[in-house]
Amino acid sequence: MSFLTVEQVSKAFGGNTVVDRVDLAIARGEFFALLGPSGCGKTTLLRMIAGFETPDGGAIRIDGAAMNALPPWQRPTNMVFQNYAIFPHLDVFDNIAYGLRKRKLPKQDLRTKVDAMLATVRLEGLGDRRADQLSGGQRQRVALARALVREPKLLLLDEPLGALDKRLREAMQVELRALQRQVGVTFLLVTHDQEEALSLADRVAVMEAGKILQVASPRELYARPNCRAVAGFIGEMNFFHATVRALDSDTATVNAGVLGVLILPRANLAPGIEAGQHILLAIRPEHVRFADTGVAGAIAAGTFLGERSHYHVTLANRAEPVAVSSATARGGAVHLAFPPEHLIGLPA
């Protein structure tokens, strides 16, 4: 039984469909990421779960309870806004205590609770600071603390690290992951940064143009994208046009043009691909190897990246160079090998 379920949820603004019949199921305690380019509808979906937008159709349930008719203040969710939305007229303590007013705690209990939360996000002793006296990273922690102190069933994070510089972002990624394990709350994070989604989340949903393309673990998304858009969005990928010649129970025989005829494991083809179908073969740059024999090409450009180097190799009869990531240094004419176990077949 899923903890958060989104069923056939749609939303249009002025005739423009932003979220298109989306289904989603998230388990309790999961760290889930919605990944997609800006404008793909991920933030709108998040805002519908928080209650700031009303779905045009479909149902949102949290822990079995229907959410559609509830205003934001009655939902068991809390949100970390992209710009943090720290109340500028209140200090850090009062920002964090803001959502506890209704609980009518005795003053001492309130103080204990807020102080404990300040410690959790490592802001001890900063309770009397005003928002304009905080750094970007500190404001992000205040926003987290303010949401978590209410003990939500589901924490929603809208591009929470987007406003931070690269180094701080990397440090906060580690902290955010640790914090989620510590508090055990279900996290739903929205981001356009694939690295962030892959490093933080247990599972990732890739969204494009209002639809969810694939939901999988980061490892699986990387190794087994189910379509060209996902493959291209996550990491770098080489694509080759190909035609399926024959299928049997374990293998697929594929005519891949410049790569020749290849036999790959049947499991490497996306489900539903049939014999005779035109497909795309995809392979990651680190899986293409330099070899003594194979597909002939010439190195057009090379970038030294320390442990590995990144090359662009041009092939005869192919406009687009092949990206190759290799630990060995090369130059000039080369031969490339494309190990069949690393080639995956996607619908063209």
């Binding site: 203040w73 806004f81 939305a85 500028p88 803001y98």
Partner: protein, 264 residues
């Protein structure tokens, strides 16, 4: 950057043109002569003592303060509601509504005054201080709205959403977030509309009837030269109070700016 002496002279001449006439008020209000002319003849506080003893003048002052306070409160309240509506909800007729509310700014006061007088006559209401307040509302609501819309637009909408997300209803969000953040705008609007009502003459002239406001009363006194120094004394006092109010308003505005910059 090279300094242009001509510009400097111009700037000083302009400032002198603005403020020297105003400074004549306090100057002559302490002059021991009925006639407003140089040379000065001596220092006296007589005109201020006469002023304190002039019941009719004080009554007019009281009327102006009452009308000003009522106008300020009502127009700021109306402006607050309208500003919240046009900045927070996607309304179809926002542009038209703003235009119609602001229209009285572009109608000459004399037209407003006469037409309101006709209206009073048509519905059988007497000229009164209440009528003055209604007339001043027409003039002041656009000012209040302009000040408050700027204030509402200056702060982040996410703050109100964050409050709702943290468990507060619309009403409590207004009190705990919106109101404190627009408070400097509310103060500025109160001051601006009070001052506008306080020195408005034309509409008050047509609508006040027997309850003259201060500008209307002073205008009536101009026929009596011997009362002029007293009017000057009153003018000097009003000037002092206005300067104090403007400084207060600026201080409030600056404090407000500092606060809201944070939310962005």
């Amino acid at each position: 950057m090279k300094k242009n002496p001509a510009l400097l002279v111009y700037a000083f001449a302009y400032l002198a043109f603005l403020y020297v006439p105003v400074l004549f008020l306090p100057l002559f209000s302490f002059n021991d002569s009925r006639f407003i002319s140089f040379p000065l003849t001596g220092f006296t506080t007589r005109w201020y003592r006469d002023l304190a003893a002039d019941g009719a003048m004080l009554h007019a002052l009281g009327n102006s303060l009452k009308a000003g306070a009522a106008t300020a409160l009502l127009s700021t309240l109306l402006g607050l509601l309208a500003a919240k509506a046009v900045t927070r909800y996607r309304l179809k007729a926002t542009g038209a509504a703003l235009g119609f509310i602001s229209l009285p700014l572009f109608i000459p006061d004399i037209v407003l005054g006469i037409s309101l007088l006709l209206l009073l006559g048509a519905v059988g209401l007497p000229q009164s201080l209440q009528a003055v307040v209604l007339g001043h509302l027409l003039v002041c609501v656009p000012f209040a709205l302009t000040v408050l819309v700027a204030r509402f637009e200056g702060f982040d909408r996410n703050l109100e959403e964050a409050s709702a997300d943290l468990g507060e209803t619309g009403w409590m969000t207004f009190w705990r977030v919106t109101f404190p953040l627009v408070l400097p705008g509310i103060c500025a609007s109160l001051l601006l509309t009070f001052i506008t009502s306080f020195d408005e003459f034309l509409v008050a002239y047509f609508l006040s009837g027997t309850e003259a406001t201060l500008p209307v009363y002073i205008w009536g006194q101009l026929r009596f030269p011997e009362r002029m120094p007293m009017v000057l004394a009153l003018g000097a006092l009003i000037l002092a109070a206005s300067v104090a109010l403007v400084i207060l308003a600026e201080v409030l505005r600056n404090r407000g700016m500092k606060r809201t910059r944070v939310g962005a």
